[in-house]
Symmetry: C2
Subunit: 362 residues, 2 copies
């Protein structure tokens, strides 16, 4: 299945809005924007971490590192620190988030996640009952995902030197033989699929902070996506070129990363991107663009056109993909850029998140 009615090439579109990236402030200190997942994070990572730790597994810039053991087994390994505030929010908590976030990063390489480790940093004075609720939630999420938490560590810092509870999870999975999924795999003609409505997680956390200013029943989408990945790979594994979960920085940032890694253009159709009415309303009131709001239970699949309908059907038949939708396509023009055909008929550049919109969302 290919996108309709879109036959316009990216090179010929009438571009609205700024093309130049916003210049970065040259701070000599860490600011919240460095943790946004957007442009400032990328800049910090490139200047500080890649500059020191350069190796092919790291600089591939995928959600997980791809590693080959001496016996020829391909492992996927990923790590995430979780600092979400508050610890509990509608639809989830830091424990469920820590398990799902890492399970998903491993799954996005087409790997079967098997094992997790968890490092806990606890603030003196944290209620042990709170910790136990979080740990129970981690175990429930791990069971749902079919992974085991095999190693852990606990550190305690003085009151005022942390914020309740931080959890760093690392996931290890085995990449299925014959699967070759990477952010660098998108090809012109490929179809862009999102697994469901965007922005739920970020708005649910804001609501839990009391920053929404009104009542809503928006729940975080935090979920383990390895089952959904299995389902869509069963439809046609060879046709799935990219998988990525649009967390910090939202769908816009994730697609920009893919466009850069693959050196392709991505053209979205605004009116095909699913957003729940309550999330859309909250974003409008708060001045947010849902394209930049974090998700924790959604994935983007970039798929060869001939297999797109089969992959979409497989996703829709899974509980975490019932609202999956084709939202755009990959083009040869404008490599490294994401453009969007707006609902009113124009086309605008969709840039990476520049600074920080919603700190401590994950």
């Amino acid at each position: 299945m290919t996108m309709k009615p879109e036959n316009q090439s990216l090179q010929s579109v009438n571009i609205e809005g700024p093309v130049c990236p916003t210049p970065l402030p040259h701070n000599d200190r860490i600011v919240l924007g460095h943790g946004s997942g957007g442009r400032m994070s990328h800049d910090l990572i490139a200047r500080t971490f890649f500059a020191a730790f350069s190796n092919p597994a790291l600089t591939a810039r995928d959600d997980a590192a791809r590693l080959l053991t001496s016996s020829g087994e391909q492992l996927a390994i990923s790590t995430d620190s979780h600092v979400v505030s508050p610890l509990f929010f509608p639809g989830g908590d830091i424990g469920r988030l820590a398990v799902c976030g890492t399970v998903n990063d491993v799954a996005m390489l087409g790997a079967e996640p098997l094992w997790l480790t968890a490092g806990f940093i606890l603030e003196e004075g944290l209620e042990i009952e709170t910790l136990q609720r979080v740990v129970a939630s981690m175990q429930a999420a791990a069971q749902e995902a079919g992974v085991q938490i095999v190693a852990g560590d606990t550190k305690v810092v003085q009151k005022g030197k942390a914020d309740g509870l931080f959890i760093t999870t690392t996931g290890i999975g085995v990449i299925r033989p014959g699967v070759n999924i990477s952010g660098a795999g998108a090809r012109p003609g490929d179809v862009v699929i999102i697994s469901g409505p965007i922005g739920d997680h970020g708005i649910a956390v804001l609501q839990a902070r009391g920053e929404l200013g009104f009542d809503s029943d928006i729940c975080s989408d935090t979920a383990p996506l390895n089952g959904l990945v299995s389902a869509l790979l069963s439809a046609n594994a060879a046709a799935v070129h990219v998988l990525r979960d649009p967390t910090r920085g939202g769908l816009a940032t994730t697609l920009n990363e893919i466009a850069r890694q693959s050196q392709v253009g991505i053209l979205l159709e605004e009116d095909r991107i699913p957003v729940r009415p309550a999330v859309a309303a909250a974003c409008e009131m708060l001045g947010f663009d849902p394209l930049y709001v974090a998700n924790e239970g959604k994935l983007v699949a970039i798929v060869a056109p001939h297999a797109a309908q089969d992959v979409l059907d497989a996703m829709r038949s899974h509980a975490y993909g019932t609202e999956a939708a084709i939202i755009g396509r990959v083009e040869a023009g404008a490599p490294g850029q994401v453009l969007m055909k707006t609902a009113i008929g124009g086309t605008r550049v969709v840039d990476m998140l520049a600074g920080e919109m919603l700190p401590r969302i994950c």
Copy 2:
């Protein structure tokens, strides 16, 4: 080589000092003692983490989890969060510590560490130059250990919600074929070897905090021990039953863990345990027992008696084991207990660290 002149069995010794463990305070909130690595940590782990996450790899209670891939490869996986204060101290910094701590935990299963991941939690306002110094130190330690840092994550929290910089590292290694090292492997008759003088790290960190009250030239021993492990395994891999690095809680806590896991007694000889004079003096002034002070570049090897001299020689020929010494032996009596023949000729119980002596030492 066996211990001399010690031929007394543990059952017949005249025990000085308390045998009963100190009762734990029943707090409903996290206190610093829960991060000590001693009895309160063990209690929290058992009640909270093992209760929820129970699986054989976790509850084996080794420094790293032992995992079998479908192709039959045995992996060792370990994680540690690092919250040391201050970030820089004589002989090391949080970056070197984060790499070495995790490399060592993987190596203590007789595995060759290959890959690390690193999750950074940064406090808003941290100087980027500080972060870059830490990252450069991590890379230097990783190069020394021969491991690659293959995946990472960065989160930023608001000023006052963390303490500069926390780093959680996870290490993945491959267990050498035929090696079967575990805290449960000590057998009566085995010889206990320490790789060098104890207590340097804890005292060096205290000194960096200005809490020593006098000047000293004590440096942390923070070092990657995988090379030392390779050297001692080359001497006689099958004879090496236990390896463990005595970090938080010190040598006393580590030996208690081994005595419990293996259900054996351990009898130490006080005057054989190497302690640098400056560390001994600092401990005496501060009222600390060096047996409970953290090390970050030492290991305990428990070895079959017939191979003890060969293993000791191999350790002494390695840069990180030049001062290795035989300090005790494993006995069938008093299972789960560590006893020490004191310099003045008595014998006392050496219990696990109960609460917290030195918070945020790693």
